[in-house]
């Protein structure tokens, strides 16, 4: 049978073998924890504790400001040591709450189970998700409760749980499917209920067939939730592409999944929703794949949010080789960081310590106009031409070639034999066009 997929894309070596067979281990939290007030897309949260306060596990420490924002909670019990600007994975200094962990893990009194799912209304579910500070955990970190309230008059036909995990190296979704299957399915039901959606599709790439089969077994008696196996190809997990592969619907450019009647959530997000409903525990931990050639004991860890990356790397045995680059997230779209004294935040799906060999060879030649970037682009753009017009800041041509449709997936730069890294230029051009449009609007 031909597997469902999209046109374009690339096939990097998935490198999941290093960690896929290691069960998720609970990582003990270190003495000092760092909680930045930005761990999501939207308005920064407002700090609600002060220096010297004693906080418990699951206690609110920064609350959302406005609808598109998110709550953040302490993942340990202990004393607020200070509130200061600290380096953030995004590269800037962000106000952060530093908490001294007392190692007791006393749970906050308000953390208690909600009513059974059957008795909850859609509004109550959205409130629980919002209270729990749940955001998209695939990397983008968009507050989930916002997506659970689609614009008036929109009908959601499909809830899609994005278990594609198309980024190489990452195995956190895979382990979650095998170990937290029940929570994922519970999460599906909660989301379906909140949106009154009739169908839920759990979408898995075919390199994780065993996980797909495991979920299918768990779903034997469920009529409305099914597993869809799609072709292993990067970027299958891109929102627009997974929607197309699973439902055949195309999200028009500039539109959202809700506009075609679809809601998409990440694997760990669904499981976190389940935990919030079942136990009342907000989002305070996540699965992090720690891997890459420079890591000694590559593994999947359940890490409390706020744990410094340095400690996570130590928990994985430290380095066995000089890391050439450290990446938060996958190697295709993750962020290279300049320091390991940064906290794990809600969107940190992996910590990759890559050696020179992992990164691959970079002998730059002239662009041969081979067209491989064109074939690889999942958005069907012409990266080589976009890169050229970006260099010349040719706004008219950039628009003509739809620069703003670029999802920055990096497929073009991955595939380029001349190592021209077209995306590098395209980012600049895209920014330029967006900024110009803003300026014009402002005038």
């Amino acid at each position: 049978m031909l597997l469902k997929t999209f046109k374009g894309g690339v096939h990097p070596n998935d490198c999941k073998r290093f960690t896929k067979d290691f069960a998720i281990e609970e990582m003990p939290a270190p003495p000092t924890m760092i909680f930045p007030i930005i761990q999501h897309i939207g308005a920064p949260s407002e700090i609600v504790v002060k220096k010297g306060d004693y906080v418990k596990v699951g206690q609110l420490i920064a609350k959302q400001t406005g609808f598109v924002s998110a709550n953040h909670h302490s993942s340990v019990s202990g004393t607020v040591k200070s509130i200061e600007a600290h380096f953030h994975p995004n590269g800037s200094m962000v106000d952060s709450i530093i908490i001294e962990n007392d190692g007791k893990y006393d749970v906050f009194e308000d953390v208690k189970p909600a009513k059974p799912l059957e008795q909850l209304t859609d509004k109550e579910i959205v409130q629980i998700v919002s209270d729990a500070g749940i955001v998209g955990m695939g990397g983008a970190s968009f507050p989930t409760h916002v997506k659970l309230v689609p614009p008036e008059g929109t009908r959601i036909d499909y809830v899609i749980i994005n278990c594609a995990e198309c980024e190489p190296y990452l195995t956190s979704d895979y382990r979650a499917m095998l170990e937290d299957g029940d929570d994922i399915i519970f999460g599906c039901k909660a989301i379906m209920k909140a949106l009154s959606a009739p169908k839920c599709l759990i979408v898995v790439e075919d390199n994780k067939k065993d996980a797909a089969r495991h979920l299918e077994n768990l779903l034997k008696d469920e009529e409305n939730i099914s597993v869809v196996v799609v072709k292993t190809k990067y970027p299958q997990g891109s929102e627009k592409h997974i929607i197309f592969s699973a439902t055949g619907r195309k999200v028009p450019s500039g539109k959202l999944p809700a506009d075609v009647g679809v809601f998409v959530a990440n694997t760990d997000t669904a499981a976190s929703i389940a935990r919030a409903v079942k136990t009342g525990m907000p989002l305070i931990s996540r699965i992090v794949t720690v891997t890459g050639g420079a890591i000694k004991n590559k593994k999947n860890l359940r890490v409390r949010i706020g744990t410094p990356i340095r400690n996570v790397i130590e928990a994985a045995g430290g380095f066995v080789a000089e890391p050439e680059r450290i990446i938060l997230g996958g190697p295709m779209m993750g962020k290279g960081v300049f320091s390991i004294d940064l906290p794990v935040i809600k969107g940190t799906s992996a910590i990759l310590a890559m050696t020179k060999e992992d990164l691959g060879i970079n002998v730059v030649t002239n662009c041969t106009r081979c067209g491989k970037c064109v074939q690889a682009c999942p958005m069907r753009l012409v990266p080589v031409t976009l890169a050229m017009h970006s260099k010349n800041e040719n706004e008219e041509m950039l628009k003509k070639y739809h620069v703003t449709d670029c999802i920055e997936c990096g497929a073009c730069s991955y595939i380029c034999p001349a190592r021209k890294d077209p995306l590098q230029m395209i980012r600049v051009g895209k920014r330029y066009v967006i900024d110009r449009a803003r300026m014009k609007k402002a005038q």
Binding site: F6, K7, G8, V10, P12, P168, F244, R249, K250, V251, P252, S253, K255, V260, F319, R325, I326, I327, P331, M332, M333, K335, G336, V337, F338, I340, M354, D358, L359, G360, I361, N362, V363, T365, N366, C367, T368, R369, C370, G371, V374, P378, M379, R380, V382, T385, K400, Y401, H402, D405, E408, G410, S413, Y414, C416, P417, A418, R419, D421, L423
Partner: protein, 325 residues
Amino acid sequence: MENVLKVGAAPHIVTKHDTRSVMLDVVIALMPALLAGVYFFGYRAALIVLISIASAVAFEHIWNVALKKPTTIGDLSAVVSGILLAFNLPSTVPLWLPVAGSFFMIVIIKMAYGGLGHNFMNPALGARAFLLASWPSYMTSFTKPQAKLFPVLSPDFVTQATPLGILKEQSGEALPTYLDMFLGNLAGCIGETSKIALLIGFIYLLARGVISWKIPVAFAGTVAALAWVFGGDTLFTGDWLMHLLTGGVFLGAIFMATDYTTTPITESGMIIFGIGCGLLTMIIRLVGGYPEGGSYSILIMNVLTPLLDKYIIPKPFGKAAKKIA
């Protein structure tokens, strides 16, 4: 580890295939045809290929040294060009001819325009056209295949007309069988006669993802269709197989019309390019005064390629979306 880590932008990994490995794949894909050429035309064919490669690489290196630029011969593109130039020569040409061809190919067509990726026409075909215009007699005397590896290096080659030449001249000479045409046992240029060897190379290139099937299939398909419709005495009686199996259609479609730099980058551009090559080839063969049209048609389409790339802007994913009620 207190030192600041090196930060780079995503994506952080790249494919194993770089320009050099891609060129190496093309060289490997050309090997079956080279072996066939040597088998059918003797070791003189090998000598011409070697001279052609060596001079192509040497000219590129000298150019770089003369202009105080880092040398670019490591990308192996000059090796590919050298082989392809030799493949487009009869095995009887004087040994200085590939050197002259390489000079034109590397210095005039490739390096003067900026080197790899900047030439506007296929270097090997451009050089072939130049040689054909300058020394037509050398370029059009073809020998009968020797079918032995070491024929004496004496000048008494048995000349033979190519099948297309026979058809054009209506000379009544016997045509080789289809099997001979397929295997390569017929008169022609060094690298073009053995279709099966070229096909093996084609499959290798497809399997390695070096080229897409679009241009070769569109090219050969158009040649076959037009030959069938218009190639006979009446409509729909043409010997399409003969048109496919003779001349440079295979070599052209697989290795020349898929040259990265001088062919379109978009999928629809590739299809148009292939059809255009097929169309022009058949016009030249059936209407024009010249038996073989493959290389000129590719050159003409090369020149049109910038236009195809300029005017074809593919629809992005999601732009053609139907509205869902």
